[in-house]
C-alpha cells in the first residue's frame, strides 16, 4: 500500500499570495484505498484524472478547489448530497451518491481527488 503524505501548505501559500494564514498541517491520504472506493462507486466512469468526461477531470476539480480555496468538505458534499448537476446540454441530473457513510473513507477519497 502506498501512503501519500503531501503537504499542501506550499501550494496553498502560493495560491494565497502573501497570506500565510492557511494552517500548516499535512493532508494525509491512502491513494490505493481511495482509488478503489472511487472505482467501486463508478466515479471513474465520469471523472478521469486529466480528461473531461461526463464530469470534470480530477485535475480540473483540484485546480478549481485550490483557486477558490475550497476544501475536502465541499468535495464530500458533492459526493453525498445527491445535488443536481448541470450537464453540457443544459439538462439536470442528480449526482451519484457514494455508497459509504464513513466520513473517514469519504475524506480519504476527497483528499485523493484534490491531490490531482
Amino acid at each position: 500500500m502506498k501512503r501519500n503524505l503531501r503537504p499542501l501548505v506550499a501550494i496553498a501559500a502560493l495560491a494565497g499570495g502573501l497570506s500565510l494564514s492557511v494552517p500548516a498541517f499535512a493532508q494525509q491520504f491512502d491513494a490505493d484505498a481511495a482509488e478503489n472506493v472511487f472505482k467501486d462507486n463508478d466515479c471513474h466512469k465520469c471523472h478521469h484524472a486529466t480528461k473531461a468526461k461526463k464530469g470534470p477531470a480530477l485535475k480540473k476539480i483540484a485546480a478549481k478547489y485550490k483557486e477558490k480555496k475550497l476544501d475536502e468538505k465541499e468535495a464530500i458534499k458533492h459526493m453525498t448530497a445527491g445535488q443536481k448537476v448541470k450537464l453540457d446540454d443544459g439538462k439536470e441530473e442528480d449526482h451519484k451518491i457514494i455508497d459509504t457513510k464513513d466520513v473517514k473513507v469519504q475524506t480519504n477519497v476527497a483528499r485523493w481527488m484534490l491531490s490531482h
Binding site: 472505482k39 463508478d42 466512469k45 461526463k54
Partner: protein, 449 residues
Amino acid sequence: MDQRTSSFSDPKMKILAASVAAVAAAGLVACAGGPTRGADTTGIDWNKVPANKLVLFYPGKSSYEWLRDPAAHKGAASETARGDSCVSCHDDAKEEQRQGAKILSGKHPLEPIALPGKPGHVDVNIQAAYDDKNVYLRYQWKGSNDIEYPYYRFDGKEWKTYGAPRLDKPVQEGKQPAIYEARMSFMLDDGKVPMFKEQGCWLTCHEGERDLNPATKEDVAANAAMKAYKKSDVRKYLPASRSNPSDWRTGKLPDELAKIKAAGGFVDLVQWRAHRSNPVGGADDGYVLEWRNFDAGKNHFASNMNAATKQPNFMFDAARFGARAVSADQVRTKDNFLIKGANAVPFDPNAGWKAGDMLPRYVLQPADATGSAADNKAYGIWKDGMWTVVLVRPLNLANPDDKALKPGGVYSVGFALHDDNITTRGHYVSYTKTLGIGAKADIVAVKLP
C-alpha cells in the same frame, strides 16, 4: 503440390488441400481423436506476427434497452441513447475486469443466476495477418475443452434432448447436464451501420431474445413482421430493422429490409464453433439485420431431427465409429462428432434402439457446405488448457451478405467468446475494436511475406 509446410508460398492451395484432407480423414480422426483435427495448416509463422491482448468481459443482461434505461444504466442512459461510445466512459485500464467481476458478483441485477467461480473476464490473445487472398486471425485463450453439443437421447419411446447450455432451467435445476460448444465469434462493420463503431455488439442485443426476458412463442407467432421473416423466436437484430429499436415487435417488412441490406446496413457475424464447425475445418458465416441470419448457401451443419418422423436423420456407422450411438458415460471421453461422408449413415429406425442411446443433435456436412455460408475456414486445437484457433476469411468477398475485407481497409469489430458450456448472455464480449488490413488500427493485420 507444395508440401513444405514451413514456407508460405501459396496458403490458399494448402488450405484447400488441408480441408479436403481433413474431411477425408475425419472418419478416422473422429474415432482416434488424433492431433490432426484442428491443426493450423496455413503455414504462417505466428511468432513473426504481432500479438494484441483483448479483455472480454461478462455482460449479462446489459441489453440495448437496459443501457438506455435511466433507472438502470444510471447517469449514462441519455449519453448512450444519443450514440456516445461505451469507452468514452468505460475507459479504465482494468474496466472490463471490474465490470465482469461486478456483474458476476452474485448481487448484480445484470446476472440473476448464481454462477459461482465463473471468472468475470477472459484474456484473449489475437494476431492478424493477410496475403493477397485471405485475412488470417489467430485467437488464443485459456478455457474449457467444450467440444460437445447436446444430444437426442432415446428414452425407450421418443428421442428427447439431452444436455443443455448452463443458463437453461433444466440445468439450473440439476435435471440436465450442462453441455454446449465453445465458440469464438466476431461481428464486423465497414462503417455503414450507424453507431456500430461506438457501441458495437450491444446494438444487436435486445429484450425479447433468448435469456433476455424472452418473447413468448405465442407473441412471436402473432407478430406480422416475425411471420414475414418466418421466424419463431427473437434473435439479434440491428436498430435499423425496427421502427422502434427498443421493441422487437416493430420489425420492418422484407422490402424495406432489403434496401437497408443493399446499402450495407448489416453486420457480418463469423462464428467458430468447437462442435458444429471446427471438426470439418470451418467457421460459419452469418449476418445480423432483422435476425441472426446465416449467409446464403449451406452451412457446415444441419439439424439431425426429422420433423415428420420425430426421429434422427443420421446415426453413426458402427463399422467406422465403433457403435451406432453414444451413451451418457461416453460424453467428453472421445470425439462424438457425426460427420456425413465420414462416420454418419442414414438413421435406421429398426436398428434395435435401447433406452439411453444418444445421437448428436447436429450432423456435420463438409461436402454440402457451399456458397456464401461456407466462405470461412478455421482450425482450432485445445491443448493444456488453451485453445488456439486460426480463422481464414477470403479478401474481397462479393456476396450481398458479406462485408468485404480489403487491403488498406479499417473495420469495427466486436468479439465474443462462449466458454464453459454456455450460450446467449453467458458469453464474454469486447468493446468495439478496430481491425486494419495493413492499416493503422487497434489490431493490425500485417502483410505476410
